[in-house]
Amino acid sequence: MSNVAKRQTSTLDKVLRIALYVCLLGMAAVYLAPFLVMLLTSLKDVEEIRSGTLLSLPSSLNFDAWSKAWSGACTGSQCEGMAPYFFNSFQIVIPAVAISTLLGALNGYVISHWKFKGSDVFFAALLVGCFIPFQVILLPMARTLGWLGIANTTTGLVMVHVVYGVAFTTLFFRNFYQSIPVELVKAARLDGAGFFTIFYRIILPVSTPIIVVTVIWQFTQIWNDFLFGVAFSGFDTQPVTVALNNLVNTSFGGKEYNVDMAAAIIAALPTLVVYILAGKYFVRGLTAGAVKG
């Protein structure tokens, strides 16, 4: 039986298909090139960098620059590498992400399921928070931290990031909870559950996608933050971004591009890892709409 239509592939189709892949690969290369250059450079020694081109491969694998960047490079007058600041960053990021995510979830829950007089105004006011540029709040925040006695401390930085992040996290959670049917909360109230029980037993268990989105977003934002870090951190509480800047700007003798590159990759690594591990949930969570009951 040959009356089944066969798929016809003309030469033109093939050419177009190849052109498409070339195009896609080209775009991927453009985006990956800077990272590749960083990686290659970090594996060369200073002599090789000076004599070779940007894209030439290192003659041998040489991790000296990485160990120097991690534990020996000078950032200003200190010469302990990136390691202490790397941990500083974690000390800031972990509590800041946890607190801002939790507050955002609670805010979103209240705004979408426990409306009170003025809750819409409250939400609108919070939204304005998303549009305030960092620079604007630098001075007032510095005064506030001074008053609270937590200037130049990790606690202070955590607070700044929480305050700034809550606007975004609330927006995320509110939009997600808006799609949870109100009947679910009504049913739980009739069943005898209170405000926190409903949140903990009914709402949180269905919130995984939006929690992942919020955590990735907040982690990336706070980890990559430079301005708040440079403005509000103390000498020994500087986050990794500030340390990277200091490292690159501190030079004794020649510029060690390999160390700079290694340090930059180290500084970027956690956000990369988070995205690779949870990236697919990120896309899923952003597009997740209805919770089907």
């Binding site: 559950a193 029980t197 269905v206 089907k292 009951g293």
Partner: protein, 369 residues
């Protein structure tokens, strides 16, 4: 089990009045249906009974307790929602026992209760599933199971069948009725489906624009509607409203219809027409009261045979609906399928006015009460 009293309940959102003074009272064990078109306030009223919305004025009593300001959990009522509102993260068994858990019932008792309910609703094999793995009808059963498990004083059903397909809806309707007969509990049930209202209710409250138009048994509402709205809302096809002129005849009063030829029909309460002599009123006559000529009714007091012009015929199997037009009004007649009514021809019909009602043409109120 408890009686329910709704005493002059009003609800306002800003300037808009959603409930305009509702008065309903039912005995313990009665099945009350709130029925009306969308936007009539029936869901708001139900939410007020549940305590999910505050009322602006008036009182709500369950049994002898004034619960107007009590929180939902203290009213001891259970509710079945249109969207079922099953907790998506919990299994069927957990859904059913959640309310008991919140009321600190020991685990063994909870398990026994889940088993009892599951057996009653035949959902034993579903207990370990999540709501997402259930069909619409199964979700419906689980939602009812969740309500039953707590053995509350009263059940509220908010359009529970409107998300089901037609066949399942009829099945579940019967099942709810059986359940009510078995448990004998007080039920308040919201629907916009007048057939559900007729079949299930002990009492029906027909609502429109935040007011109760009529409260009564299904038969009262069907036979004795207080106004045009109630008469037109209940019954399918709806009651015919036939323009008729009040005429004086042999010292009594009767009605003249413009069928194929002008026809005089008698009216059960002729004296109530006295004030309208010479004026046009609306005669309310259900479709089943206009039939093919039936020999056994021939010559009875309120029976008149007259020719009509057939506009359309709609065979329904058991009956054939014959549509005609009297003045501007479309009139449905329910005939035997064997009766040879054909579109475009004139044919004799028997008008039985023994249960006819009359409405004022201007304000839609009954005039023969």
């Amino acid at each position: 089990m408890a009686s329910l009293t709704i005493d002059n309940v009003k609800k306002r959102y800003g300037q808009t009045e959603i409930l305009k003074g509702i008065n309903i009272s039912i005995e313990a064990g009665e099945f009350l249906i709130l029925v009306g078109p969308s936007g009539c306030g029936k869901s708001t009223l139900m939410n007020s009974i549940a305590g999910l919305e505050d009322v602006s004025e008036g009182r709500i009593l369950i049994g002898d307790n004034d619960v107007t300001y009590a929180s939902p959990k203290d009213r001891d009522i259970a509710m079945v929602f249109q969207s079922y509102a099953l907790y998506p993260n919990m299994t069927v068994a957990e859904n059913i026992s959640f309310g008991l858990e919140m009321r600190k019932v020991p685990k063994e008792e909870r398990e026994a209760e889940v088993e009892r309910v599951a057996e009653m609703l035949q959902i034993g094999h579903l207990l370990k599933r999540k709501p997402a793995q259930l069909s619409g009808g199964q979700r419906q059963r689980v939602a009812m199971g969740r309500a039953l498990a707590r053995r509350p004083k009263m059940y509220l059903f908010d359009e529970p069948l409107s998300n089901l397909d037609a066949k399942l809806r009829v099945e579940m309707r019967t099942e709810i009725k059986k359940l009510h007969q078995k448990l004998g509990t007080t039920i308040v049930y919201v629907t916009h489906d007048q057939i559900e209202a007729m079949t299930l209710a002990d009492r029906i409250a027909v609502m429109k624009d935040g007011e109760v138009q009529q409260l009564g048994t299904p038969q009262e509402i069907y036979d004795n509607p207080t106004n045009l709205f109630v008469a037109g809302f209940m019954g399918s096809p709806a009651m015919n409203f036939i323009p008729a002129k009040v005429v004086e005849q042999n010292g009594s009063y009767a009605l003249e219809l413009q069928a194929a030829t002008p026809t005089i029909v008698p009216f059960p309460k002729p004296d109530s027409l006295k004030a309208h002599v010479g004026k046009e009123i609306l005669l309310g006559l259900r479709p089943e009261m206009i039939t093919e000529p039936q020999p056994h009714k021939e010559g009875k007091e309120f029976v008149v045979t007259a020719d009509i012009d057939v506009e359309v015929t709609e065979p329904m199997g058991a009956d054939t609906m014959v549509l005609t037009r009297i003045q501007s009004a479309e009139v449905n007649c329910r005939c035997n399928p064997a009766y040879p009514a054909r579109a475009g021809e004139a044919i004799a019909m028997m008008f039985d006015t023994s249960k006819a009602v009359a409405f004022d043409k201007d304000n839609g109120q009954r005039i023969d009460n």
